[in-house]
Structures are given as C-alpha cells and as structure tokens.
Subunit: 232 residues, 2 copies
C-alpha cells in the first residue's frame, strides 16, 4: 500500500481534505468494525452485500452470501471493493447545502479469492470466532468436515485503500453566522443493549468472561478495537 | 417490483428462508435508515461508497462522492446496487459454524441518473433536509444557485429489490444442545448520544422542536421510521 501517492482509483476528488491514506488510520477504522459492504461485478452489473469481516495484516476475510454469488464466477480471483463505514452523527448547518454526516469509512480494493485449502479454512473459521470472542473457538463443538465444505470463505489482500473521515461541527459560509438558525451535531453511537442467553443453555454453561467486554451501554466500535488491541 | 417471482438477480440462494420480497418489508428497512452503500462499476471494476439516502415512493435519492465518480461516466443511466443494512446483534452458537449476525438489509437495483433539472434538484435538496428534520428547509438560509450547481444529486427508480432478515437466537444442530457451551445473542442498537449545539449559535437561535425526537438514548432506526410515518 502506497501512502504517499494515492492512485487514481483511491484519490478523493470531492472533499479531498477528508481523505486519509495512511495505514494506521485505515487499520483503526477496519478494526473498529465487523460489518463490511462488499461490491463485485457480475456480467458488468454491480452488486453489494453486507457481511461480517475481519483483518489479519493486510488481508481481509469474510464469508456469507456474497461469496456464494461470487463462487459462481469461475475466476481464481475477482476484483472487489470492501467498504466499512461507521456513522457518528448528523451535522445541521445554517444552509441546507452544508448539512453533512460525521463518519469514518474505508474503501479497500483487491482481488478476492476463495479459500479452498481445508486446513486454512478451518484455521480461519477459528480466527473469525476468536477475533470477536477470544478463546471461544477452543470451547465450541469442533467443526465437522461437512461444515467446512459448506462454508464459503473469501480472502482479499488489500492492494490499496483509502479512509475518509468527517468530524466536528457544521462549517457554514462566513456571512451565514449572523443568521439566527440553530446549528449543531446530533451524535450517535452503536452500543450493546443486552446479552440474551439462549433459553436452551444448560445450567453448566457458564457465561464466558470474554462477554464482559460487551456490557450494556459499551460502544461496539470501542469493544471491537479493544479486543483487537489486546490480541496484537 | 414483482413480489411473487423474484428474478435470478435478487433470489437468495444461500439461506433462502431469510429472504423477503414484499414491498412493505423492504420499505420498512429502507425508511429506518439513512446510510446506504451504493455500488457501481467503472471500467469493469466494482466500487462501493457510503452515502446518505432517502426514499420517495419507489425512488431512492442520494448525493455525495459516489455521484462525483459516477458523473464522470457519460451514460444517462448507470446500473447500481443500493444496499441498506441494520445490524442488530451477534449470535453465539454451540458450534463455530452456526455463529451468525442478526440484521435487516435491503438490496435495491436500478439505473441511477443524475438529476440535472435545477428546480427538481432544489426541491429534492429541501426534501432531503426535511426527511430527517421536518420543516427545517423553510428555516435554513435559501440555497444559492452556485450550491445547486455544485451538488451532485442521484435518483434511482427501484427496478427490483429484496430484503434479508435474521432475528432470534442461535440455531444449533439437535445433538449439540446437550453440550455445556454458553450460547446466546449480544444485541446492539444505534442510539443518539448527545445533541451538541454549535458554539457559534446566536442566542436567538432556538433549538427546533423536531430535534426532540432525537433525544439521548433513542434508537436511530426508530426515530427515522417515526419521522417517515408522521410525514406519510
């Protein structure tokens, strides 16, 4: 990934001051998330599907329905764009034109490949669980061969990526600050509401300690970042 | 939009029981959101950008950076896929394979067009502000001709769409319910945290009543749905 000279594909044309190309900024945004939107092309038409993902170094992994569509394409690697977005607030300005959204997002480009090696797939599935619930893969029922076969796991090395971030209050035209119009930011956050044990849990099924991070009211982005940091 | 016979493009192959094609389900998901991921193709490569959107009937509107990339394509209409996703929880099962996510999402397909008519664009920009803050467009500083020119507004009639929804607890294999493994759901929600008035607000700039809906702790999806319902 080149930080100094963004390519034509990732260079931001609109609001260039919001663009970031350094790997640290990009990784922080990726590691605070669990939902990506993966875009791919079939017969020249665009598709984008939501999916859970995780990062290992400069590789993103995901599985789910996006893979099943892409699996039908016989290519060994297909170009995809993986976008992760955190929404942080609505920005109300004194002019309609300057209304905005506070957000952090990353667009990552690369060729997605299907992970076909069974051992690699098994390891990656464990990583997936452990990325969100450290140590859980050792506690759950071992994977069946049939399950591995039924899992579509995708892997993409990030060829290039860019981040786009907006923070702070409204930015109005100088002459509009004399207008008696309320302006400001409505901030929001994604937080845990409840942990709901399955009603069929056995009495011996103790609640694992790693769930303590996911306590009611905690911010999801902060929980995910802290788990990532503790593991690296 | 055909409800009875989903086309090949929108029919779900994986987890078909999670698919919904009725317009009411689709609209409820769209009207509970403000952030869409818009996918499009340039030179055969996929791109997906986050953007604020709103719905009017079977038309979606958005503007922002996705438009600026697409503007460079001279076509009068370009195929896009607009996906809206609400994440509701992490599902922990007794087997890694059955871990899942609770979510509500819509994929909508159509040809995106640039809104070039100035009057239509001005009206749509007002709608955009009023969709989130009913009546605000009449309070803000009137739009400048130059701002209208600088705005890239996109419009897409929904040709077809599908919703995908997962709710509820883990679904494990029958034989695994005897295992003493904790299973359950970590539910989360996006809520308002604070309303932060701009420090340059004049004393006469009274906080508008429509902000009352966005009170701390309220769920963003419910606020957006309630505003939509009150207006229709």
């Amino acid at each position: 990934m080149s930080n100094a000279r963004p390519s034509d594909r990732i260079r931001l044309r609109r609001m260039p001051k919001r663009g970031h190309y350094d790997q640290e900024t990009i990784n922080r945004i990726l590691d605070a998330g669990m939902l990506a939107h993966v875009a791919y092309t079939i017969d020249g038409k665009p598709y984008v599907t939501p999916t859970a993902y995780w990062r290992e170094g400069q590789t993103l992994y995901w599985h789910g329905s996006s893979a099943s569509r892409m699996l039908r394409m016989q290519a060994p690697g297909v170009p995809v764009c993986v976008t992760v977005t955190h929404m942080d607030g609505l920005v109300l300005a004194r002019a309609g034109f300057h209304h905005s959204i506070n957000y952090r997002s990353v667009m990552a480009f690369g060729d997605a490949q299907i992970v076909t090696d069974v051992a690699e797939k098994a390891k990656a599935m464990d990583h997936f669980v452990d990325r969100f619930f450290p140590g859980r893969s050792a506690e759950t029922r071992p994977v069946h061969a049939q399950e591995l076969k039924a899992t579509s796991l995708m892997r993409m090395n990030i060829d290039e990526a860019s981040a786009k971030v907006r923070v702070g209050g409204p930015v109005d035209d100088d002459e509009d600050y004399v207008l008696p119009i309320w302006a400001g930011v409505i901030a929001f956050k994604t937080v845990m509401s409840d942990i709901e044990p399955d009603e069929r849990n056995l009495s011996q099924a103790i609640r694992p300690a790693y769930l303590d991070r996911y306590k009611a009211g905690a911010r999801l982005d902060e929980v995910l970042s802290s788990i990532y940091d503790a593991d690296h």
